[in-house]
């Protein structure tokens, strides 16, 4: 029996294939939206590249949907796997227009565009775009055709809030909404149903983007810059269309960008409360966001002091800008980081690994996990000083947790933190082997943290000159980080079972079906 026949006999795989086919309609829609941009900016090669990509995506999507036409609703594990696979495919769809444009234009292309005639650079840009990471293979983004600048921003804008979240809002209701929603690393619902929640998220998200565009325009950006930068700031993506990121602007614009990045790092559920109650102080009443504000202030101070220690002068704006950019995992920079001190690179790495509030557009471990980890330590210490009859009260955000609930919280936060550390370490170890010798270990740690946290600050390692293994490694890290590792592990598990024990897969899947 051939492998393909075995797959087609397996109803579980049909579900995964059908889901992937549906998700592919999202990038197809994004391309359709981008076509007018090509026409307005007269980028005919880009238009051709988009049309070719669009046809390819539609064909693949159609085939997938045809194949899985009789599939049933998936289980949680299958949903996680199809989400993981879809995100991998998104990188391809995101990178194709860049690659095709570079190939179509050929030798006349600007050096920045020419870099994308190497397919691995294009895939890297696609992955970095959709995961809203912001590491880039464009040395001088200002040289790119306007419609490709738009495409990079659009990938981040859609990817930041979650492609699957988009799919839920638009696609048919046969999908397991709740599982999909959770697969992209969201927990809190702000409306009764998942689809209403997603719609509300999109309204808030679009609103903030519009506010950002106006704000940036008023403070001195051109309309085109304002649109692109607002999209990549609120999505905490970090692609820019200038050559020196936010270094091209003066103080008022940088402050406005910081505000937008912080807005991107605040959970949508909090935004919802702030908007409904018209009370910005609602931010402070939630422990996770209180932690965010405290970390923003304390971290900026630390980075500023470290900067003074290293360079003998204070640069509060620059220090706090990079810190806000790192903690919100946005990845805009206002100055080159290559010559920053090791201490500051490590501080920023930590921020990029931690990330902002859960339920926002940030990457990283997220602050609700950090909060539980801190609480775990506090509870452990409290347990030691308890008097004989005293009842232990474990509180999270003011409400009392049953011992069982507390255990669950601690378990999920610690297991993710362990996974995060393991992947981070493995990433550092592998990347260190392939980077050029002029980069120090600190640079490698920084770049790995930036990829895993989907942040996008760079010391310069992520560039077209990087050995291809390094590029794919960083892509893998961005992918794992964006999906919070677990779906990717499930996918690897499935693949390894396929390769090692092909005959037993159906039984295994069926058993997992029962377990999850």
């Amino acid at each position: 029996m051939t492998i393909s026949r075995r797959i087609s006999k397996d109803g579980h795989l049909a579900t995964i294939v059908r889901d992937i086919g549906s998700f592919l309609l999202i990038p197809a829609g994004m391309i359709v939206v981008s076509l007018p941009v090509c026409v307005i900016s007269r980028d005919w090669s880009v238009l051709a590249a988009f049309v070719i990509t669009l046809l390819g995506v539609l064909v693949v999507s159609g085939l997938c949907r045809y194949w899985g036409r009789r599939a049933q609703t998936g289980t949680a594990a299958q949903t996680l796997i199809s989400v993981a696979l879809s995100w991998g495919l998104l990188a391809v769809v995101g990178g194709l227009p860049l690659w095709l444009t570079a190939v179509l234009i050929g030798p006349q292309a600007s050096p920045t565009l020419k870099a994308f005639s190497d397919i691995s650079n294009a895939l890297f840009e696609g992955m970095s775009g959709f995961t809203s990471a912001g590491l880039t293979m464009s040395l001088r983004p200002s040289q790119l055709p306007a419609s490709l600048q738009w495409w990079r921003s659009l990938m981040q804008w859609t990817g930041g809030v979650g492609v699957i979240a988009f799919a839920i809002a638009l696609l048919d209701p046969t999908h397991n909404h709740h599982a999909l929603f959770k697969a992209e690393g969201r927990q809190d619902q702000i409306r009764l149903t998942v689809s209403a929640t997603v719609k509300r998220i999109w309204i808030i998200y679009s609103g903030y983007t519009a506010v950002g565009i106006l704000l940036f325009r008023l403070l001195g950006m051109s309309w085109w810059e304002a649109i692109n930068h607002s999209m990549s700031a609120i999505s905490t993506g970090g692609f820019s269309i200038t050559d020196s990121s936010m270094g091209a602007y003066d103080m008022p614009v940088q402050l406005a960008v910081m505000v937008m990045m912080v807005a991107g790092a605040v959970a949508f559920s909090r935004h919802d409360i702030i908007i409904r109650q018209r009370d910005p102080l609602a931010l402070w009443r939630d422990q996770q966001h209180r932690l965010l504000l405290v970390l923003l202030l304390v971290g900026s101070g630390l980075v500023g002091l470290e900067h003074y220690a290293a360079h003998q002068r204070f640069d509060w704006l620059g220090s706090s800008f990079q810190w806000v950019s790192a903690l919100s995992t946005c990845g805009f920079s206002s100055q080159p980081l290559q010559f920053w001190s090791d201490g500051n690179k490590l501080l920023l790495s930590l921020a990029m690994v931690v990330g902002g509030a859960a339920g926002s557009t940030v990457g990283g471990l997220k602050l609700n996990r950090l909060l539980v980890l801190i609480k775990t330590v506090v509870w452990r210490l409290q347990g030691n000083v308890l008097s004989p009859h005293e009842r232990m009260s474990r509180r999270l955000d003011g409400s009392l947790l049953q011992p069982q609930q507390a255990l669950q919280q601690v378990e999920s936060a610690t297991s993710l933190a362990v996974l995060w550390m393991a992947v981070l370490f493995a990433g550092i170890w592998c990347l260190a082997a392939v980077v050029p010798t002029e980069y120090t270990l600190t640079d490698v740690i920084f770049e790995t943290a930036s990829a895993l946290g989907a942040a996008g600050l760079s010391t310069g390692i992520a560039a077209p000159s990087l050995f291809w293994v390094g590029k794919y490694l960083l892509m893998l890290l961005m992918w794992m980080g964006r999906l919070e590792i677990v779906p990717v592990l499930l996918l690897f598990n499935l693949l390894s079972e396929y390769l090692l024990l092909p005959g037993r897969l159906t039984g295994r899947l069926a058993r997992r079906h029962g377990r999850l």
Partner: protein, 131 residues
């Protein structure tokens, strides 16, 4: 003020809500797990889960610093024991709920401020409405 409350039945619980609201520091001694949890859910206070008869539970509640001990269980023997112990530790204000009217003399002899027969008080209020 630093208050030690013994018992978290409805009277004790209401008292704790009020006292915490007014900014007093409260420690609760309550043997029942469910009742202890209910109080913890509402108020962030120290709760000792145990019986007033458990050895040195009042010391655990730092009785020497207490401004008052309030006994509010539905069991007069427990309330009485709390009052006796409070007197031994020379707590200035000692207040107790007395469930059985016939027990009130014992409490009076100890010099305790007591609320006698709460059911009768409520009945009195109810009666006032018809007259």
């Amino acid at each position: 003020m630093y208050l030690i409350v013994v018992g978290a039945e409805s009277e004790g619980r209401r008292f704790i809500d009020m006292a915490v609201d007014q900014g007093h520091t409260v420690v609760l001694i309550e043997a029942d797990e469910e009742r202890a949890r209910q109080v913890l859910e509402k108020n962030n206070i120290r709760v000792l889960q145990g019986d007033i008869a458990d050895s040195s539970i009042l010391q655990e509640a730092s009785v020497e610093q207490a401004d008052a001990v309030i006994a509010a269980t539905h069991d007069d023997s427990k309330n009485l024991m709390a009052m006796v112990l409070a007197q031994e530790f020379e707590v200035e204000t000692r207040i107790s709920l007395v469930n059985q009217p016939s027990h009130s003399q014992m409490f009076e002899r100890l010099g305790v401020k007591s609320v006698r027969d709460p059911a009768k008080i409520i009945a009195g209020y109810l009666y006032d409405y018809i007259s």
